[in-house]
């Protein structure tokens, strides 16, 4: 959907070594102009290193980085068309809010009045109208975040780099800022590159997400594709909750396959539901998300094509949701191991929470399964 836009950042075979430590292992990546792009992964996966190499704070050991179709090899951070919002916000504590925002304009030839108007305008953009004369060290976390944004955006960079910008905020504030950041990005049209370890944050905000493990990109996709069809078990496990069951491949035709899954029976899967980028996980595995299966109350009807009998082992009540751990009939048939399966049900009006030990039926569709092989 975004392929017609011109590339803004290109990483070509980027490697980064710190002594013996291989932090980035061949990153190939194109981020398009105006995209809200996220680098997602656990701590130590290299996402922040990648962001800092794009910003120019770290040299790369091998490969090339292009910004706006120009090679950045010899361009230092202070000359790159990128600006950064730091995890700690890095608000200069000895300056006022306005002085912080105007910091990057020091070498700008424009007049004082013009600059001051620009500062006011930018503060208004981030919702801090009238805060210019406040002392920076007296601001709240959310306000610091906004000052950091204003300070970077005032220079009209081609790319805004955000290093875990919301991790220091409490949950309410974080959710509010997520929405504001999306709106802000649409308003200014600048390419945003966000680093985060929070999968929910990445799914909510991004046009596309690169999931990174150990210095490599494991999958690069839009949020929906990433969630529905993770490239391998590791990605699936990192993003949301996924159930895994061992599977036996009975037949293959075209790109698709027929598999036997203990507890679920025989399933035909088309090519698009099969992930092949999974060499080292040991044996074919079926994965599905907790919310894709429906737990049926006695006598309830449903629209899903398949049904399986199960016993409820555990019930975890979350208010809006209930999680059930189930034992599928016949799930232990393959190797004798019982594999509990987690199902989530929204607690809508009229649906009772079921009790531990209840025999129940589970409705599902082969379309929600993914085969990792």
């Amino acid at each position: 959907m975004t392929d017609d836009r011109k590339p803004m950042i290109e990483c070509r075979g980027v490697h980064k070594h710190y002594g013996d430590y291989h932090a980035l292992r061949g990153i190939d990546l194109t981020i398009r102009a105006g995209e809200f792009f996220s680098l997602l992964g656990p701590s130590g996966c290299g996402k922040t290193t990648l962001l800092r190499t794009i910003a120019g704070f770290e040299d790369i050991s091998e490969g090339a980085i292009l910004i706006d179709e120009k090679r950045m090899d010899e361009v230092p951070a202070n000359k790159r068309p990128t600006n950064m919002v730091f995890q700690s916000y890095a608000i200069f504590p000895h300056l006022t809010v306005a002085q912080n925002v105007a910091f990057g304009l020091r070498r700008d030839p424009r007049g004082k009045a013009e600059k001051s108007a620009l500062v006011d305008e930018t503060l208004a953009l981030v919702g801090l109208r009238g805060f210019g004369n406040r002392a920076a060290h007296a601001l709240s976390g959310g306000q610091r975040q906004r000052v950091a944004l204003a300070r970077a955006l005032i220079l009209k960079p081609k790319v805004l780099l955000l290093d875990e910008p919301l991790s220091a905020l409490d949950r309410k504030m974080r959710e509010q800022m997520q929405v504001e950041l999306i709106k802000l990005q649409r308003q200014v049209g600048i390419t945003f590159v966000l680093v985060t370890h929070d999968q929910e944050e990445a799914l909510v905000m991004s046009d596309r997400i690169a999931v990174m493990f150990e210095g490599e990109i494991a999958q690069l996709d839009g949020p929906e594709a990433l969630y529905a069809r993770p490239a391998n078990r590791r990605v699936a496990d990192f993003i949301g909750v996924m159930n895994f069951l061992p599977a036996r491949i009975v037949a293959e035709q075209g790109g698709g396959a027929t598999v036997e899954v203990p507890g679920l029976g025989m399933v035909d899967l088309p090519a698009r539901q099969i992930s092949r980028a999974n060499p080292d996980d040991g044996g074919p595995t079926i994965g599905f998300r907790p919310e894709t299966m429906t737990l049926l109350g006695a006598g309830a009807t449903h629209s899903q094509p398949r049904e399986t009998n199960a016993t409820i082992d555990e019930v975890v009540y979350y208010g809006d949701m209930t999680y059930y751990d189930l034992r599928l009939d016949g799930a232990a048939a393959m190797d004798g191991k019982a594999r509990p399966v987690r199902i989530s049900m929204r607690n809508v009006f009229g649906r009772d929470v079921q009790e531990v030990g209840t025999r129940t039926r589970l409705a599902w569709s082969p379309g929600s399964l993914v085969l990792f092989r």
Binding site: H17, Y18, D59, I60, S61, E62, D73
Partner: protein, 290 residues
Amino acid sequence: MAKGGLDAQARQGYALIAPPFLYAALVLAAPLLTILAYSFLTDGYLEVVREFTWANYVQVWTDPIVRTVMLRSLMVSALVTLVTVALAFPVAYYVSFLVRPQKKATWLFLITIPFWTSYLIRVFLWKVILGYNGVVNSSLTGLGIIDEPLTFILYNVNSIVITLAHAYAPFAILPIFVALEKIDRSLLEAGRDLGESRAMTFWRVTLPLAMPGVLAAVLIVFIPTIGDYVTPELIGGGKIPMIANLIQVQMLALDNRPLGSALAVTTMAIVAVVSIVFLLINRRFLKVRS
């Protein structure tokens, strides 16, 4: 892009540390190496003869006067260290555990002030305080508590110990305070919760955790005191020289630089050995903790 050998960080680090490091190399390392070299050379009249010899060290280790002074220095330093640290611990404990957080900085400030005032004058005033007609004796006789002035605090090892314990007080309090501050207060509550008495909690939880600080205090007091020159000179009236005075006499008054150097090197070696022993003990404590 790959830069041979060092990365940019390391090169900047070296560039920055170079000036102070070179300064220390020039003004500290070069002289120390020189006296190390001197200590193996032969003393001629008013000059140093370039002939290798062990004689200086033999003399340092066999001469009864040197041995007496060396042992006295070690004993005085050990005593000073013991007294200073023992006196300091309750103060550090008080400031860390019983003083309100806002007042801690003020207490530390009060403790450090005397340290920064003229060392010579402080030492001299102890002589005044402890002397034959000094403050202590004249007050005590004036009050009729004693008839004759006390002599055990007079111009002897005891007075040196008191004076040095005073001089190095903040050196002992600060490291212990730091160690005590690092103790997670909930550990002490846990100790109490698990049924230990207050004294046993102190013995089994607080003290072991404070041990690295205590050992640091021991080192930090012991090392400078063994090289103290002023106190024996002023308080001891020059009658009970310590190793520093002996080094000075050999180096300057007798102009026997090789022997003086051998003394200095031996002193440093002893200090180093003591330090290493304490650092090893400290490591054991740290290992138990982690």
